[in-house]
């Protein structure tokens, strides 16, 4: 505990880390949002069908 606190205290300007992390979070999220909404349709379709691309031979027998 002490070791961790001491190590952290030695970092200059460590107080700003949490704020930076909040900003990184927010910016990253905006970018992911943008990427997703502008994503290529074919890619999305391909990904969507990934679990299903094998012929289901005995699926509907249940």
């Amino acid at each position: 505990m002490k070791i961790v606190a001491q190590t952290l205290e030695q970092i200059a300007g460590v107080e700003i880390f949490p704020i930076i992390s909040l900003l990184i979070f927010f910016v990253f999220f905006l970018i992911v949002g943008y990427m997703v909404f502008t994503a290529d349709k074919n890619y999305i379709e391909e990904m969507k069908n990934m679990p299903l691309d094998k012929d289901e031979d005995f699926h509907d027998d249940l």
């Binding site: 505990m1 002490k2 961790v4 606190a5 952290l8 205290e9 460590v14 107080e15 880390f17 949490p18 992390s21 909040l22 990184i24 979070f25 990253f28 999220f29 992911v32 949002g33 990427m35 997703v36 909404f37 994503a39 290529d40 890619y43 999305i44 391909e46 990904m47 969507k48 069908n49 990934m50 679990p51 299903l52 094998k54 289901e56 005995f58 699926h59 509907d60 027998d61 249940l62």
Partner: protein, 706 residues
């Protein structure tokens, strides 16, 4: 394009499937026993390893890590090779993972009832087992990541992102929360104390729910729901947003377990805000799961697999709505420490985790054995019994929670507590405990039907160990692809990215807590525990007292009136580990030792109460702890315990002032035992009960000694 042939090996899927079924039954049976023990407190018959407070950690650990854990590994070992078009990287690593995990479960099942515990909820396992968990977890991760490296497909399906996020986050959480220094082979103290320990624990505890009971199950959902419905997921875009938002937001929400506690307000506020924001991705996920079934609702009527998935996803939606509501301070003021929490988590485990596991296994067994499900009718019966069982379990507990909280808070017109005797509020809700046990019995009965069905299905077919498949050789990444798609193409980098994401959330909570000294104001009258009290405290931890008794008086009029001055962060600075508790089946004990408060009990009362609680309060539901009176106190480890405490900065040098810890213990024990003997109780100085009494009588007194 060249097509490569390869085979999937179903052996590990089969092994994890049987482990899921077996441990599911064990976890439910232990839970059911615990539920009955709350109604029949003498049921444990004075046998230490059967008492509620030792079985409860076994129940939670078995449900989470054994039942749900094995179901997760089943999903991972079945779906990952099929999504990546390659067998798992290493059969040997898979086998080590399987047997290592089962060995850990067996060790847990032995150590927890014997009282070897760290007392942190869902992190109770003692340090040697923790080390083993980390090793096995690394083996699992290595196998998973290397399978991703070896894959034949270009992009990685979202289910696997959830698996990877699970792996990374659980590793970080588990290691950080279990940082401790051993005092012996079976015992250790956490490096954190009091409020900091509580913050780290609930950062872990909340994220154990998030990253062990939620994200991997979402991976399961994104693979098995489309499979069972035979149609793709409703929105793949939504699943990406769901993924990133969820792993970002979850990691910040932990402090909502410590509302109104001695935790600084900024940390509480942070926990609340992020918990509320969690509704969005959680409901996005629920909607995505349910809408995957659009156009297939006719099938839902007949197919027990889809029915179970629908209830599971609905339960996910309900509990992820309820969770944020419970994080609102006003709601939490009512719900915290009551059975409301128990009801909430069981919607999650019985509904979301249980139904997903059952649905997945009902879908898988016929495929692994190339046959049909033995009885669709029986599976449908299981579905109905399990759903009713879940409701019979939870609804009475919601009612119990409201009722008890309102009774705790009620004042008479004259300004006194309407129910000053805690026990009155317990007997009032006891009928609800009967109904809960009935609900649990129903759910368990359903699980027995499940075992019969799985067994007969497997017996009616022949196990298909290898399945052939073919796919094009691995693509090289093309130039001009989006960065996210490139990132997915690189599993190691993707893992690191997910790690950074969750660390960011962890940092914002933990860095300020470590640094800002004003977060934990010093109280000069707060002193370390005497060696005898420290031993007594370790007995308190061993018996799991924290599972029914909190040590955290919240700053409410009714709590201050009932229990005394509210708990300050500075009072907990020597508490390795913290003992705030999360449930009040019995009263709070934070100020148990303060003589001027109404709850104070003399030493002799505690002695008789441990021996036979019903003799002191006929309606009490506390089980007896007679072994505390018979067992000799172990003096052998006290020096190493004190020296570990000193390494944390607990000022034993000045406190003991050169006195030998063993001598200090004996002197204090002799004094307490003498007091008991003069009251007509025949007791030796060196019994465990003496240490426990010493600890109980110390609780909360420092603040009053000023």
């Amino acid at each position: 394009m060249e097509l490569q042939k390869f085979t999937y090996d179903n052996k590990l899927s089969k092994m994890f499937l049987y482990a899921t079924v077996l441990w599911g039954i064990v976890a439910m049976l232990v839970g059911l026993t615990a539920a009955f023990e709350l109604i029949f407190p003498k049921m444990s018959g004075g046998i230490s390893w059967l008492v509620f407070s030792r079985l409860r950690p076994l129940h939670t650990n078995a449900a989470i890590f054994a039942f749900v854990g094995n179901s997760i590994f089943l999903a991972v070992y079945y779906s990952t090779p099929r999504l990546l078009k390659t067998p798992m990287y290493s059969k040997a690593l898979g086998c080590i993972h399987f047997w290592g995990w089962q060995f850990i479960i067996v060790l847990a099942a032995v150590t927890l009832p014997l009282g070897f515990t760290q007392s942190k909820e869902y992190a109770e396992l003692i340090w040697p087992i923790d080390v083993l968990v980390v090793i096995i977890w690394v083996v699992f991760g290595l196998n998973l990541i290397m399978t991703m490296v070896k894959r034949r497909v270009k992009h990685i399906y979202v289910a696997i992102w959830f698996y990877i996020a699970t792996w990374v986050t659980v590793a970080v959480l588990y290691i950080v929360n279990n940082l401790q220094i051993p005092t012996s082979f079976l015992h250790s103290y956490p490096v954190y104390a009091g409020i900091q320990d509580a913050l780290v624990q609930w950062w872990y505890g909340h994220n154990a729910v998030a990253f062990f009971l939620t994200t991997p199950i979402l991976g399961m959902m994104y693979y098995f729901v489309p499979k069972a419905a035979n149609r793709p997921v409703y929105s793949y875009k939504l699943s990406i947003i769901h993924f990133w938002a969820l792993i970002f937001l979850y990691i910040w929400a932990g402090p909502h377990h410590l509302l109104y506690s001695a935790l600084p307000d900024w940390a509480q506020a942070l926990g609340v805000v992020f918990s509320i924001m969690l509704i969005a991705p959680s409901w996005g996920g629920m909607i995505n799961g349910l809408l995957t079934l659009r156009g297939a609702w006719d099938k839902v009527r007949e197919d027990p697999v889809l029915k179970m998935f629908v209830v599971a996803i609905t339960a996910y939606g309900m509990s992820t709505f309820e969770g944020p509501m419970l994080s609102l301070k006003t709601v939490n003021a009512l719900s915290h420490f009551t059975d409301w929490t128990i009801a909430h988590v069981h919607i999650g485990t019985l509904g979301w985790n249980g139904m997903m596991a059952f649905g997945m296994i009902y879908w898988l067994v016929p495929r692994l054995y190339k046959t049909k499900l033995w009885s669709v009718k029986l599976a449908n019966t299981h579905f109905w019994i399990a759903t009713l069982g879940m409701l019979f379990f939870s609804i009475p507990l919601y009612f119990a929670g409201f009722t008890q909280a309102l009774m705790w808070k009620e004042f008479t017109e004259e300004g006194f507590l309407a129910y000053p005797n805690f026990l009155e509020t317990v007997t009032q809700i006891l009928p609800m405990y009967y109904l809960r046990a009935f609900g649990g019995t129903l759910y368990f009965t359903g699980a027995i039907l499940f075992v019969v069905n799985v067994w007969n299905t497997a017996s009616s077919g022949k196990f298909v160990r290898y399945e052939e498949d073919e796919a094009a050789a691995k693509h090289a990444p093309k130039a001009g692809e989006g960065w996210h798609r490139k990132l997915e193409g690189k599993p190691l980098q993707f893992t690191v990215a997910a790690l950074i994401v969750i660390l960011i959330g962890g940092l914002i909570e933990i860095i300020p807590m470590y640094l800002v000294k004003t977060n934990v104001p010093t109280i000069t009258s707060v002193q370390p525990y005497t060696p005898l009290e420290l031993e007594g405290r370790d007995i308190y931890v061993r018996e799991g007292c924290y599972l029914c008794h909190s040590q955290m008086i919240r700053p409410f009029r009714n709590e201050v009136e009932r229990y005394g001055e509210y708990t300050k962060a500075g009072e907990t600075v020597y508490d390795h580990p913290f003992q705030f508790g999360s449930k009040r089946t019995g009263p709070d004990l934070a100020r148990e030792g303060v003589k001027s408060l109404p709850n104070y009990k003399p030493d002799s009362w505690h002695y008789n109460h441990m021996l036979d609680p019903q003799k002191m309060n006929a309606e009490s539901i506390m089980p007896p702890y007679p072994w505390l009176i018979e067992n000799d106190l172990d003096y052998t480890n006290i020096e190493s315990k004190i020296s570990v405490m000193q390494s944390f900065g607990v000022p034993y040098d000045s406190y003991l002032n050169g006195q030998d810890p063993v001598e200090a213990m004996q002197a204090q024990a002799a004094q307490i035992a003498q007091g008991l003997r003069s009251g007509g109780i025949d007791v030796d100085d060196n019994k465990e009960i003496i240490a426990l009494i010493a600890y109980l009588q110390r609780l909360g007194t420092d603040l009053y000694s000023e």
